[in-house]
Amino acid sequence: MRRLLKLALQKPEMAATLLLVLLVIFFQIRSDMVFLTYDNLRGMLGFLPEVGLVAVGVTLLMICGEFDLSVGSVFALMPMTMAVMMTMGWGFWPATGLGLLVCAFVGFLNGWITIKFAIPSFITTLGMLFMARSMTVVISGGFPPRLNMDNIPEHLFVSYVGPGDLFRASFVWFVVISILISLLLSKTNFGNWVRATGGYLPAAEALGIPANKVKIACFMICSVLSGLAGLMQVLRLGSPLPSIGEGLELQAVAAAVIGGTALAGGIGSIIGGIIGAVLIRVIDNGMVMSQVDSNWFKFAVGALTILAVVGNSWLRKRGRAMKVETER
């Protein structure tokens, strides 16, 4: 039992999970038991796959020891590419395929520039943040094209599919992709390479791990997931505004860190990133529910973010310090 507790406390996502449970209980009580009602859950579960997919990509990349600050801009660039191509007469699938290829290319560029010129990915992707956002505005001419929803298979992305129409199709995509990325990270050689590359690069290279290729692959996965998330939001809201996703990069990094991903790389889990993303949405939604003065919104989000990370650090120390008997 004590051994299990020690293992649980050392899980990177443990503090965030505990905080999430406490906050859900708190907001449920503060909102006169409305927080977990069907309508509100349905609203949150509609938004979650979009921020969640971005958080999954950013978490994977951070475990690999790199950052991507361009995810918010790629989030807007992908659906805008698709929408513009559709107005030019392309079908939905070719236009979507091109949009995802653009994302993959952006991810490749992020990785290639970072490695080739040995500069921090923080800088590379900060530059890409501006470039991708600018491209979004440029290709749209500033005015978002109208989407003809008749030509779009909405049912595959945003229609309600879950029991009692609680989930959208985007939630299924999110769950499946998250499981696949988790399996990729925990059950494959590639996952081991990612952790090794993020944990201690010289050792990883000495072991013959193709660290550069691993990093570029993670950058590309991160960008493609961000683009896919942007597509889902645009299809849900019906509007490819060039401004969507602004500030999302910080939310995604915060989600990963809250979920226990180490800023230095090597440590973290996909489920942690997802819990971090859920926590941020719960805080934002719960603030409204519990009628907190709107001027305190950002303060509360910031304070709870710090609390989650401090709690995470404390729990892991406690876990490490806990003594257990070893079997002979």
Partner: protein
């Protein structure tokens, strides 16, 4: 003879300077507090560039990288002034931060016109020569007044005012206008149970949808939601998703972007205020031209508190898609 030579020289100088004025294009910079990805500002830019094209003026629109960043905008103004333009057009989203740079521009002989957002003190707030834009408080009041025609005749009324950008003049003043109206409405209906409150609603469709959706879950009896921008278009989606019929929760806000027009057609948005962004870009250039060529003093233009209702949408939709409305 000497007089004749003097007259001839004066005539020559006049001719040369007139010719020079005719040949040297006006050099104008337009600095704003928004990032380029805001659809509304693209309509302002279109008006600005169309006007510049008509006059053959050299014009530049300068956006900030971080939406609403006052310090970035001031830096952009400094950079634009260093080039020595004939005129500077700028939005004034802060009551103090722009005073110094505007004064220096005026001292250097640069015409300065405020557009879209003005200092809360108006002309007394700084050295700008005119303001071309919407009177935000009256516009907010007009919005509240127009939407109140759709309020139920009896029973309690609960109104939510979404402040898109807390602390920024444009958003706070529009909200204030709506709340001023609500105060008057409450005073005019002392026997009815009427309440309103404000919320930090945000400037992202998805975030606004989530926040207002959460509020509506707690307060399903909400009568109306007012947004200080156009982000209530996302709220309309939430209502549709929940199977709430159009008109059960009244929606109204500002600016005619295509998303809002679609929701007006669907019946979810009943009232919208149009501030005519194209005019906010076009008219400052014309005033600068008149000031430079004829010496006319720039003057204020109220670009409108026009109330738009669903029956007007079809006519507007095409113009909106072209960025003219």
């Amino acid at each position: 003879m000497r007089n004749f030579k003097g007259l001839a020289l004066a005539a020559l100088l006049t001719t040369v300077s007139t010719a020079a004025l005719a040949q040297d294009p006006l050099d104008i910079a337009f600095t704003v507090h928004s990032g380029s990805s805001n659809t509304f500002w693209q309509a302002v830019q279109k008006g600005y560039e169309d006007a510049c094209a008509k006059l053959g003026a050299t014009c530049q629109m300068v956006y900030v990288q971080t939406d609403g960043s006052v310090q970035e905008q001031v830096a952009n103004m400094e950079a634009a002034l260093a080039r020595g333009p004939d005129a500077l057009i700028t939005s004034i989203v802060d009551n103090a931060a722009f005073d110094d740079v505007i004064q220096r521009a005026r001292d250097a002989g640069v015409i300065v016109i405020a557009a879209n957002v003005d200092d809360l003190e108006g002309a007394a707030g700084n050295a700008r020569q005119a303001f071309i834009g919407q009177g935000f408080v009256p516009a907010g009041y007009s919005l509240g007044q127009a939407q109140s025609a759709n309020f139920p005749a009896e029973g309690p009324i609960r109104v939510l005012v979404g402040v898109s950008a807390p602390g920024q003049n444009w958003s706070e003043q529009r909200a204030l206008g709506v709340m001023n109206f609500m105060d008057d409405f409450i005073a005019a209906n002392p026997d009815r149970d009427i309440a309103y409150e404000r919320i930090d609603s945000g400037t992202d469709l998805a975030v606004v949808s989530d926040r207002i959706g959460a509020y509506l879950s707690v307060h399903p009896d909400t009568t109306a939601y007012f947004d200080t921008g156009f982000w209530h278009a996302g709220v309309a989606r939430v209502l549709a998703d929940r199977g709430v019929a159009p008109g059960v929760v009244l929606l109204g806000g500002f600016d005619l972007v295509p998303e809002v027009l679609e929701q007006m057609k669907a019946g979810y948005v009943q009232v919208q205020v149009d501030q005519q962004p194209y005019m906010q870009g076009f008219m400052p250039v014309m005033e600068i031209y008149l000031a430079k060529t004829v010496g006319l003093a720039p003057s204020n233009i109220d670009t409108g508190q026009g109330i738009v209702t669903p029956d007007m949408v079809d006519a507007i939709m095409e113009l909106s898609a072209m960025g003219l409305r």
